[in-house]
């Protein structure tokens, strides 16, 4: 339906239009508390249209895709009537062919319901242990996306996504322990990846059974790839062109400045093979490319979509992200830490096992913490950089070894200050959602106990 929609919009909107059409089918099997409980399927399709008319931009979305496109165009024009003037130019066709990135994997698309159930059962069997309860969910999705605009740019691609998640619960009296992990990728997970998931949960569970008192004071703290969220979130928020435009990004005036440890590099990479966020072009018809955000501690650039770029008088970096409802916004694809070289496709498809909890960073620590999960990440004034979170899952490190799990402790600090000097990067880089990062050791993180 996208071609007639864009054509109709061209006739009625004097400043052009762009549209996204997306359809997906998802199959999910869920094991609750150790037993297979449900199987579900979802079919969904929808369209999102943006028009520019009399210098003003409007947006409309619908899942009633069988309806005549007139209605959607009419709603987008009504939205434009209220909109503010914006000098938004829809990009023309790219000069070169769209980059090639494999987003569709037949093995994932063709996996049967029984295959999904089989993966779940195998995981359950390997995670079962005395006194614990296990939840497992397996999810497979196939998507088809088409984008087009009135300037002649556009493209389409199919994608697959496969997600496996498991959590193990152990309740002893009033002590509730939950250890979980998930892997997601575009392809069917390999046996090695599933084994890594099991090993990751079991290793953290084994160390968690013994409770020890938390340390206190300004101490070395290792954040696992998952635990790193509290330190990454302020940085990624501050690197969004939207925050810069609003004047609330602490990094807004820092392009070219050395603000982080010289060993920290960050890139956004939509071309990683095997990742669900990868795509050949963004949701606003711009070809995908890898964007270096921070190189050796120096801020390089921010991410933009068309509108944010137009307002900031710069170019879109190809980060337009849109759903069926609402307008496009700048969004990251795959955030990759410390791998700024050529795209290595093999790594992209991998779900690395933690070689060893802490990524080899624990040896030098006399007394400190290993933080795997914090409570309340994302609350409050995130972009400011200051954080203070109780631990959900953390371990005490004494004389280079994990001695047990700590409860009733909180860690606090300022993300920007901590990233200025990193005491070490681990050798355990892995995907956590769409972020590739290792464990990271910081000195002098404030730890309080209660």
């Amino acid at each position: 339906m996208i071609a007639p929609l864009v054509e109709l919009a061209r006739r009625r909107a004097d400043g052009g239009a762009d549209a996204l059409w997306r359809r997906f089918e998802r199959t999910t099997v869920a094991f609750e508390w150790g037993r297979l409980k449900s199987a579900a399927t979802t079919e969904e399709a929808g369209a999102n249209l943006r028009v520019r008319h009399r210098g003003r931009v409007g947006v409309a979305g619908t899942t009633a895709t069988a309806a005549a496109p007139d209605e959607l165009v009419g709603r987008a024009l009504a939205s434009a009537e209220l909109g503010e003037e914006l000098d938004l130019a829809f990009p023309g066709p790219p000069s070169a062919a769209l980059p090639t990135v494999t987003t569709f994997f037949d093995r994932a698309a063709n996996a049967s319901l029984d295959d999904l159930i089989g993966i779940g059962r195998a995981l359950l069997a390997r995670l079962e242990r005395e006194g614990c309860r296990v939840n497992v969910a397996i999810e497979r999705e196939t998507t088809a996306t088409r984008v087009a605009n009135t300037a002649g740019a556009g493209g389409e691609y199919r994608g697959t996504a496969f997600g496996v998640s498991a959590d193990v619960w152990r309740i002893a009296g009033d002590d509730v322990l939950v250890v979980s992990d998930a892997l997601e990728g575009a392809d069917l997970p390999s046996d090695e990846a599933l084994a890594a998931l099991v090993a990751s949960i079991n290793a953290r569970l084994d160390h968690a059974l013994r409770l020890v008192a938390p340390p206190e004071g300004a101490l070395p703290v290792v954040f696992t790839p998952a635990g790193l969220s509290a330190l990454m979130l302020p940085v990624t928020q501050a690197l969004s062109g939207k925050a810069v435009l609003q004047g609330i990004s602490p990094l807004g005036a820092k392009v070219g400045a050395q603000v982080f440890d010289a060993r920290l590099s960050l890139a956004d990479d939509p071309l990683r093979v095997g990742r669900t966020a990868s795509r050949p072009l963004d949701d606003e018809c711009l070809p995908s490319r890898t964007v270096c955000l921070v190189e050796r501690g120096v801020v390089q650039r921010f991410i933009y979509d068309l509108e944010t770029a137009a307002r900031a008088q710069t170019e879109s970096t190809g980060h337009g992200t849109r759903g069926i409802f609402g307008k496009p916004v700048p969004g990251y694809t795959n955030i990759v830490m410390n791998e700024t070289g050529a795209v290595t496709n093999v790594v992209g498809a991998r779900h690395a096992a933690p070689l060893q909890l802490g990524g080899g960073l624990l040896g030098s620590i006399q007394d400190g913490l290993l933080v795997d999960e914090l409570i309340g990440v994302g609350q409050g004034n995130v972009i400011g950089g200051a954080f203070s979170h109780p631990v959900a899952l953390a371990y005490r490190i004494e004389r280079g070894e994990i001695t047990g799990r700590v409860k009733d402790a909180a860690v606090a600090g300022n993300a920007y200050e901590l990233w200025k000097q990193v005491a070490g990067f681990g050798n355990d880089a892995r995907w956590t959602g769409s972020r590739w990062a290792p464990s990271v050791l910081f000195e002098g993180v404030s730890i309080a106990r209660r």
């Binding site: 609750e32 199987a39 009504a78 209220l82 609350q379 109780p390 409860k407 209660r450």
Partner: protein, 462 residues
């Protein structure tokens, strides 16, 4: 539509089948600073089928193309047969209901031009911006919807509802040099256009506070007597206790069941907690849940003792208890799961006023409003919007970065004084669980005092 649904139901070969169809018209307006960010109207529609064969698990199908309804009924049945479950899933009895419920639209938003919605939001946004030139940014959101809802199941329940919802929120960002502070106003109701007029004062107030916070010191981390305002107390009871009272957490988990044994003491006799899906006009209110069970007021904690929990038909059957009308789904995209509605700490009759709570506090913290809250089972963390120190029985200086953290069991047990000044917090936002967000809920509470709680701020002070 009902005929179409009952016809599809009649063709199902499953032992139990339910079908839900929703058609939602919504408009949304957003301002950032002085600039209109977007004004859009959307239409969302789709269906949901859930089927159960004897000895099978749930077979579920959701879809946006209603032409697919017969195929999806068959597919849900197939999926149920494909997942054998032992012991079998049972559903507690609920007598069939036929109802055509038109909730009070209170000014049908569908009859209001979007330009007028823009003007209303512009006025509230402008009130925030006008407070001071220290207000460097605002984010103001308006959203309304009317959802037409149909539900049928193979046990004879047939429901048709028209459900309104309206939410407004404003964030004011104050900045001076490197210091950034926020104020947040939020309104959410299961009503219409009329209910959101004349709300300027609230927006102005949060912007004023954001500016004031620029000069406020960070609270000094430590253990204090803490008084929660009704808003934060409501968020606390929802996050820290409410989720544990959802029976899907305990019904198949013996250890969790033990932790949540009815009769266990959770607090002092002054503590009374419940969930009321039938309270009029609130966001969490509906006549029936998404399994066709009538909503009700369920007491969870009575005089400090755990006496109840929230159920779906499945969890009620598994635990030999009665369904409470708490099986809810955020939309046709999801299966109903056990959720809260309007969760509250009851005001203590004779509990007195806020002044009575702080009168004997020498040094304490008055924690107000909520920027967010998260619970990891027995551990929670809440970020208050702002706080004030309590000194010698009086409210003293403004403080910022008030983060409350602790263990649920300890903290509930340390609630020693509850005032009589109960109120519902009619806020927007919503509750998230199992990938379903945002579910409209409301919380309510009076002022509540915790004799001792950990307040993070400058944690460690190292």
């Amino acid at each position: 539509m009902i005929d179409r649904l009952t016809a599809a139901l009649a063709r199902s070969r499953a032992d139990y089948t339910e079908i839900r169809v929703e058609r939602t018209w919504s408009t949304a307006v957003t301002f950032r600073g002085r600039r209109l960010d977007s004004a859009t109207a959307s239409e969302d529609q789709g269906g949901f089928v859930r089927a159960l064969h004897a000895g099978g698990g749930w077979g579920v199908a959701s879809f946006t193309s209603l032409d697919r309804l017969p195929a999806m009924v068959a597919r849900a049945g197939d999926l149920s047969r494909a997942v054998p479950v032992e012991p079998p899933i049972r559903l507690a009895d609920v007598s069939p209901h036929q109802a055509d419920a038109l909730l009070d639209l209170d000014g049908d938003v569908r009859g209001v031009p979007i330009a007028e919605k823009k003007r209303l939001l512009e006025a509230y946004n402008g009130a925030m911006l006008a407070v001071s030139d220290r207000i460097v940014d605002t984010l103001a959101l308006y959203r309304d919807e009317v959802s037409e809802y149909w539900y049928v199941n193979s046990q004879g329940t047939i429901l048709h509802e028209l459900r309104p919802e309206i939410t407004l929120s404003g964030t004011a960002v104050a900045r001076r040099d490197g210091t950034i502070e926020k104020g947040l106003e939020s309104i959410g109701l299961r009503r219409g256009w009329t209910s959101v007029q004349d709300k300027t004062a609230g927006f102005r107030e949060v912007a004023e506070r954001a500016v004031e916070l620029l000069d406020a010191p960070m609270v000094k981390g430590g253990t204090y007597p803490v008084v929660l305002d009704p808003e934060l107390a409501g968020v606390f009871i929802h996050e820290a206790f409410g989720h544990l009272s959802e029976a899907d957490f305990v019904y198949e988990n013996p250890q969790a069941r033990e932790m949540m044994t009815l009769g266990r003491r959770f607090g002092k006799p002054v503590l009374n907690v419940g969930d009321n899906g039938a309270a009029p006009g609130l966001r969490g209110t509906l006549p029936f849940d998404d399994e066709g069970t009538p909503t009700q007021d369920t007491t969870l904690i009575k005089d400090g003792i755990l006496v109840g929990r929230l159920h779906s038909r499945e969890t009620a059957a598994a635990m030999g208890e009665r369904p409470t009308g708490n099986a809810r789904a955020t939309s046709f995209r999801h299966a109903p799961i056990v959720r809260m509605t309007n969760t509250y700490i009851a005001g203590a009759p004779g509990g007195g006023s806020f002044e009575d709570l702080i009168g004997d506090v020498k040094l304490g913290v008055y924690a107000c409003g909520a920027f967010g809250g998260q619970t990891m089972l027995e551990n929670f963390s809440f970020t208050a919007a702002y706080g004030r120190m309590i000194r010698d029985g009086r409210v003293a200086e403004l403080v910022k970065d008030v983060v409350l953290a602790g263990s649920l069991f300890q903290t509930l047990d340390r609630i020693d004084h509850i005032a009589a000044d109960f109120r519902w917090n009619q806020m927007g936002g919503g509750c998230g669980k199992a990938g379903q967000y945002p579910l409209p809920v409301t919380e309510g509470a009076p002022h509540v005092r915790i004799e001792e709680a950990l307040v993070g701020g400058e944690v460690g002070g190292a």
